[in-house]
């Protein structure tokens, strides 16, 4: 049964001194795809500045805000509605001939077509001597290997907030073995790419069940390209395959391509940003 979601995103930025000029770009609108149908968005900001709907360099929907007055506090509120079809992560034809898929990922044409999602970026580069941290078992299918990698990532690092940030790279994550969703996802991407599988970083929302939503953050997971099947979502933070609860916004090579909020703010002194995300659902009446 399809679910109707309503998502609320709030951000409040407070600055010690007057801000004379600022630009923000939000990458928070769910995308339209086979499993999710975007219905509508309402976006407001406390200064009543114009909200411009646009795209980023990869074609994902953005909202840009450029207030024309000075301020010390600005808050943003967005609410989205969308319909998510029931997703069965196992609803595909399994690879009949495993060797064919392994052969395919070796081909130059394949590597060139998926070059963006095979490359080592700042956040998906494994530290030296860790290139073989996770090796695919060639007797198993690519999908099975990715499932094992998903579980391996889930157990290899433990979830801990406030110990890493958006600048943390894999050397620290592998050494300290802790982090949050983007760290799990970067590690998964790096290891899958190391094994020749195109893998992309996905930013989105996770529905954690009615009654549990409370204060929450945005979520991140990965999509890996399995030959003969297509892009499949893996959520290594939860050891899950992406399902009806995963609402996708955008994808990219790593966090940098998908950061939900980019701001250029001309001010001095301290500043503080608070975000909250709420995801609620109800069954669609058929």
């Amino acid at each position: 049964m399809p679910l109707e979601y309503s998502i609320t995103y709030k951000a409040e930025n407070t600055y010690e001194h007057w801000v004379n000029d600022a630009h923000w770009q939000f990458l928070i609108i769910p995308e339209n795809n086979a499993s999710q149908e975007f219905v509508g968005v309402e976006f407001t900001n406390s200064l009543n500045a114009i909200n411009e709907y646009s795209i980023n360099g990869y074609g994902f929907k953005t909202i840009r805000v450029h207030p024309k007055q000075r301020f010390k506090t600005i808050s943003f509120e967005a609410s989205f509605r969308l319909i998510k079809k029931e997703v069965n992560p196992f609803d595909f034809q399994p690879e009949v001939d495993i060797s064919k898929s392994y052969h395919r990922i070796q081909e130059l044409v394949f590597k060139v077509d998926y070059e963006s999602f095979l490359k080592r970026t700042r956040f998906t580069t494994l530290p030296n001597k860790n290139e073989s941290l996770f090796q695919f078992d060639r007797t198993k299918s690519i999908f099975e290997n990715l499932q094992i990698l998903n579980e391996w990532t889930f157990t290899h690092i433990y979830f801990k907030t406030d110990v890493t940030d958006v600048e943390t790279t894999l050397d620290e994550i592998i050494a300290k073995r802790h982090g949050v969703c983007q760290d799990f996802t970067h590690l998964f991407c790096a290891l899958a790419r190391q094994n020749g599988i195109p893998t992309r970083y996905v930013s989105g929302y996770l529905h954690q069940g009615n009654g549990y939503f409370g204060d929450s953050q945005m979520h991140a997971w990965a999509e890996a390209f399995v030959p003969e099947i297509g892009w499949l979502g893996f959520d290594p933070t939860n050891n899950l395959l992406a399902n009806t609860s995963h609402i996708k916004i955008a994808h990219g090579k790593d966090y940098n391509d998908c950061s939900p909020l980019k701001g250029i703010v001309y001010t001095t002194g301290k500043n503080e940003t608070k975000h909250t995300v709420k995801v609620a659902s109800q069954q669609q009446q058929q």
């Binding site: 770009q25 646009s54 980023n56 074609g59 840009r64 450029h66 590597k111 070059e115 980019k262 250029i264």
Partner: protein, 487 residues
């Protein structure tokens, strides 16, 4: 022809190992230079110095200066100018011009391909590393069709004349090549100082550059625009080439702006004017890729315009050159130019390439490490002559240091045999006489939609230190007026 009485060149020493552009190998002045040689020879060195000083002060008075970046400070300098011009005969020029167009067109097709289907890589003609490990490859450009299909609207192709008398391309500059304003100013300065010499030669004009540039930029206007509004954007007055930015805007008759003068609304670009916002359609940008839009690229850039890339991606504005062209003027791509020309145009390269060793290939790296003393080592992604090591000028300790750098980051370097750049008589303050100095030539090619233009002339750069082979202005080079003769 009274060579012996010639006062000006009487003490000119010819090194027989060097290719001299005005003397042939028998020590005779070449036909094309004879008249010039005689006219200059009527003057004394003293007269020459007077005229040269006048020309220099006119440069300074007009503010024709550039900045040199140093670790500690930036300095404003006059581009040293030499009044003895270089002459290129029409048949030689034809080769250079055709060769420059060929390279620019091939690079444009290469850029289209690597930002679309990538067939040249899929067919194994160039390696995938050229894009996957290049910091100048912009993933955001994938699938974008730039207006008119043009990426490298303006190309600066650097050529040299080797001691075999043939022209070789040293590099293709297709990000924001500079120097064209000096070409025009050098001509003006020479005309002021020695107008008479132009009566004896039928020299092609260089002052038509701006009108041709504007004309071709208008051919790549965004869809749906009737008469495009063209502007020039500069990083500002502290940029090394600010004079050129203002010169080009002035001679094209268009506005010169900085990032803060523009804004983006609903994915269109506007310029702030005292009459209110004015839509902008074509931007000749002299700001590097990383700085054009802080929301898409370098977030701490204050030079760019937030939202500019979205406007570009939607096809509402033309950027010249297109973002992401830097991937193709990488010195590693240079080495594949003969194959690239052949692949896209099915033609043989008109201009020669210098043989290049890729330090990323183990066998070639081995050769380079063993022959550092006879090679030029260049970083693949630096412009302006920074980071170049010339093997036969290095001490033993310096050679060891270069080897260490090569071993640490082989992908970062290529090596080439030391080319013997031709020499041209150049007045040297220190000895108060003309001496042989190495020269190269930067040519300027403009591509528009189904149209192209090559400036008939170019910037002859002179390495002012004796024996020096690096001619870049940022490395203390000077320049000469360059005459292309009409047929």
């Amino acid at each position: 022809m009274g060579n012996l009485k010639n006062q000006m060149f009487s003490s000119y020493q010819q090194n027989p190992e060097l290719y001299d552009e005005i003397y042939d190998n028998k020590g005779e002045v070449k036909t094309i230079y004879k008249k010039l040689f005689d006219i200059y020879g009527e003057h004394s060195i003293k007269d020459y110095v007077k005229l040269n000083d006048k020309a220099k002060s006119s440069f300074f008075n007009q503010g024709i200066t550039f900045q040199v970046y140093d670790k500690k400070k930036t300095q404003e300098k006059i581009f040293p100018f030499d009044l003895f011009p270089r002459i290129i005969d029409p048949t030689e020029w034809e080769v250079i011009e055709k060769g420059a167009i060929q390279r620019s067109k091939a690079l444009n097709l290469f850029l289209w391909d690597i930002y679309h289907e990538k067939n040249i890589i899929k067919q194994g003609i160039v390696p995938m590393e050229l894009i996957s490990s290049s910091v100048n490859y912009l993933d955001q450009m994938n699938g974008i069709d730039p207006p008119g299909g043009i990426y490298n609207h303006i190309s600066g192709t650097d050529v040299i004349k080797h001691n075999d008398g043939k022209y070789y391309v040293l590099e293709d500059n297709i990000r924001c090549p500079s120097g064209v304003s000096y070409v025009i100013c050098n001509r003006t300065a020479l005309k002021r100082a020695l107008f008479g010499v132009f009566n004896h030669y039928n020299t092609c004009s260089v002052t038509n550059y701006a009108e041709n540039l504007l004309d071709l930029l208008e051919t790549v206007k965004p869809k749906g625009v009737d008469v495009p509004n063209v502007i020039v954007i500069t990083p500002g007055m502290y940029n090394s080439a600010f004079y050129e930015h203002s010169y080009l805007a002035k001679t094209m008759g268009v506005e010169l702006v900085e990032g803060r003068d523009l804004f983006v609304e609903n994915d269109f670009v506007y310029m702030k004017t005292i009459r209110g916002p004015e839509k902008v359609d074509v931007i000749y940008r002299r700001i590097d890729d990383a700085f054009i839009d802080p929301l898409e690229f370098k977030p701490d850039s204050t030079l760019g315009v937030p939202g500019l890339f979205a406007a570009y991606k939607k096809g509402n504005v033309t950027l010249a050159n297109a973002p992401g062209t830097g991937v193709a003027d990488d010195k590693a791509v240079y080495t594949y130019m003969p194959a690239i020309i052949k692949y896209y145009l099915n033609e043989e390269p008109i201009l020669n390439n210098v043989h290049t060793y890729h330090c990323s290939r183990p066998d070639e790296l081995k050769y380079v490490l063993e022959h550092v003393h006879e090679l030029v080592i260049k970083p693949v992604d630096e412009a302006g002559g920074y980071g170049i090591s010339i093997g036969n000028r290095l001490t033993k300790a310096e050679i060891e240091k270069v080897k260490k750098q090569l071993l640490a980051e082989p992908r970062k370097y290529v090596a080439q045999p030391i080319m013997s750049l031709s020499v041209h008589p150049t007045y040297i303050d220190g000895t108060k006489s003309f001496e042989q100095r190495h020269v190269d030539l930067r040519t300027f090619t403009v591509l528009g939609k189904d149209k192209e233009f090559v400036l008939k002339g170019g910037l002859t750069r002179v390495a002012l230190q004796k024996g020096n082979l690096i001619v870049n202005s940022s490395q203390g080079g000077g320049s000469k007026d360059t005459w292309v003769l009409k047929n």
